[in-house]
């Protein structure tokens, strides 16, 4: 068991390196000279040559990758072309906001998904089941950036209940725990929650339906256990797999919130990415993608470790 966990951790290292390599290659596949990702296009030629030497861009690709990754390892993601500020400085505040949004969205999506999926799995074939499956299909099929717009039209334009943009009053991006801030979180979080809601509903429904078909549930019922007693056993059996799916969904939300953040001008990594794309600010693009992907790798690892330690049936030596 311990050996398996250790092996899992060790296996994540080459994956992380490879993910780093893909991010490194992003600047290489970009049209034009990679030097344009470091100096502004209007820089004089001698400055360009100096920077090329300083950054080791005259060296072969593998050496360049080595230089880049060792800089990244100490938190140096380069400087933004647009603002000249270190990429990490902008990223740090953006990540907090994205995490906030992702956690709020998963809280809504996972709760609804578990309830709907659990009910649908228990009462399979009923009208309730069909309704839950319908909601789940709609949840995974809806273009969430459009759903965001529809919610803005209803709750901001027509009803004027909730703000349509930003993360706080007056366009501030600092988070605070008051109604003014929470009000800004509601629409983006609700929008982002529909995808995990749909996927969790489908998964939990499948898992619960499978468990309900097993003999031990019949045995528990036959033994005279109450409904809630049986429920406890089902939850215990469903939890490891359901948690694994939810963990991965949290990661997808972190990476996938770019469209929702764009719709709501939510000052997170997605909006940062969007402006980086718009201004062709490659260092910011590369840094943001790298940090989000590394976060996803780490999350994947955690999910695996937690799942293994939660589920005694998994005996991977």
């Amino acid at each position: 068991m311990l050996l398996y966990l250790l092996r899992r951790v060790v296996y994540a290292v080459p994956i992380a390196l490879a993910v780093g390599f893909v991010c490194f290659m992003l600047v290489q596949i970009a049209p034009g000279d990679p030097i344009n990702a470091i100096v502004p296009p209007d820089a004089p030629a001698d400055v360009v040559e100096q920077v090329r030497k300083d950054y080791g861009l005259d060296k072969p690709l593998p050496v360049q990758f080595g230089l880049w990754i060792s800089k990244v390892a100490i938190g140096d993601l380069g400087r933004s072309l647009a603002t000249g500020r270190p990429v990490w400085a902008d990223l740090r505040s953006a990540i907090g906001n994205t995490l906030m949004l992702a956690f709020a969205a998963s809280a809504i999506g996972f709760t609804l998904g578990c309830v709907l999926g659990g009910l649908a799995g228990t009462f399979r074939g009923s009208a309730l089941d069909r309704g839950a499956v319908g909601i789940a299909v709609a949840g995974v099929s809806v273009p969430h950036y459009w759903l965001g717009m529809v919610l803005v039209v209803i709750f901001s334009v027509q009803l004027n209940w909730l703000p349509a943009m930003g993360a706080g009053p007056g366009g501030s991006s600092d988070w605070g725990w008051d109604w003014d801030h929470v009000k800004h979180l509601i629409l983006p979080a609700a929008t982002l929650s529909v995808i995990p809601m749909g996927i969790v509903t489908r998964t939990v429904r499948g898992i619960v339906a499978e468990i309900m078909n097993q003999e031990f549930v019949t045995a528990l019922r036959g033994k005279g256990l109450t409904r809630w007693g049986v429920f406890g056993h089902v939850v215990k059996n469903a939890a490891p797999n359901a948690l694994a799916v939810m963990g991965l969904q949290l990661g997808y939300l972190m990476g996938g919130s770019i469209l929702v953040e764009t719709v709501f001008s939510w000052p997170g990594t997605g909006l940062l990415l969007n402006s980086a794309i718009f201004q062709r600010d490659l260092p910011v693009l590369q840094g943001t993608i790298l940090v989000l992907a590394m976060f996803f790798v780490a999350l994947n690892l955690c999910v695996d470790l937690v799942q293994t330690s939660l589920d005694p049936r998994i005996k991977r030596a």
Partner: protein, 302 residues
């Protein structure tokens, strides 16, 4: 980065593949019979067919020119005479642009999946059938791309390459190849261990012949069903890229891009502004339900 969920799904696919083998010659007749009895799938197929016809014959059906705007009739409401679905921020007819926009949206939603299906199933079947070092190389490379959330990977690649239809299609193809490889590999492994493959090998058939005669027919069905379910995701992602300004460029009509340019109009004509998204939603949900229906019809149980 495999978790128990993916392995469970893979195991199920392997079972499907084995069942596919057990089926007799009336298989496709049976699939068709089951599909016919499934009203939801038939309805979705009908809606999609109508949409396809509408976008193919868009130039004939459109009342106006998709590019010709006018400053004096900007942002008209739904139901304006001559402009049944209103006009956009440049005074262009929304109905016309929706009809024409569907062409690019469908194109960008389906083509990456077709490419990914061709490349992914080739690599996946190769990995699953040959095994050993080939399998190791292909599947470990797949793991790397699995380490990115798919939206992020699509945005990263097309963001680096720059805006454009070609770049968006390339990025989306790269996003879906690993997913199809995984499914193709596990299905092929399921078939490879069956008796008739051993029998063919014992009777001297070459690897290529075995794949062509015995493996392909049994694995392409499940891979195809999986690919169909990806069209829905691809449609949302492709329009999403255009929404971010990464796919099509103005003034080209495309649903995602239209949604983006109409965003500023939500205070003036909110219901006109959300129409392109409704088209994406309807298409995406129909493809999703169609894939579900196909999966059920092709998966014989008992």
């Amino acid at each position: 980065m495999s978790t128990t969920i993916t392995t469970a799904a893979e195991a199920e696919l392997a079972v499907q593949a084995r069942q596919a083998v057990a089926r007799s010659e009336g298989y496709w007749a049976g699939v068709w019979k089951r599909l016919r009895r499934d009203p939801v799938t038939i309805a979705c197929a009908a809606i999609l067919l109508l949409m396809l016809l509408a976008i193919v014959f868009a130039p004939l059906l459109s009342p106006h020119d998709p590019y010709q705007g006018s400053m004096i009739r900007r942002l008209k409401a739904i139901g304006t005479p001559n402009y049944p679905l209103g006009t956009d921020e440049l005074g262009r007819d929304i109905l016309t642009r929706l009809l024409h926009g569907g062409r690019l949206s469908w194109f960008m939603g389906i083509l990456p999946v077709v490419f990914a299906f061709a490349i992914g199933s080739t690599l996946g079947i190769l990995a699953g059938f040959v095994g050993g070092k080939v399998n190791m190389a292909i599947m470990r490379t797949t793991d790397i791309f699995y380490a990115f959330p798919s939206v992020l990977l699509a945005v990263a690649i097309s963001g680096a390459l720059g805006a454009g239809i070609f770049n968006a299609i390339l990025a989306l193809t790269l996003v879906f190849i690993p997913q199809i490889i995984r499914v193709a590999e596990s299905v092929t492994q399921g078939v490879r261990s069956l008796d008739f493959v051993d029998a063919a090998r014992a009777s001297g058939a070459s690897g290529f012949t075995i794949v062509r005669v015995h493996v392909l027919g049994n694995v392409l069905g499940p891979i195809f069903v999986y690919a169909t379910s990806l069209i829905s995701v691809c449609m949302i992602l492709a329009s999403g890229l255009s929404f971010l300004g990464l796919g099509t460029k103005p003034p080209e009509p495309e649903w995602g891009l239209m949604l983006n340019t109409l965003r500023t109009a939500i205070y003036v004509q909110p219901w006109v502004a959300v129409l392109p998204g409704l088209c994406i939603f309807v298409t995406s949900i129909c493809f999703n339900l169609l894939a579900d229906g196909l999966r059920q019809a092709m998966d014989v149980k008992g």
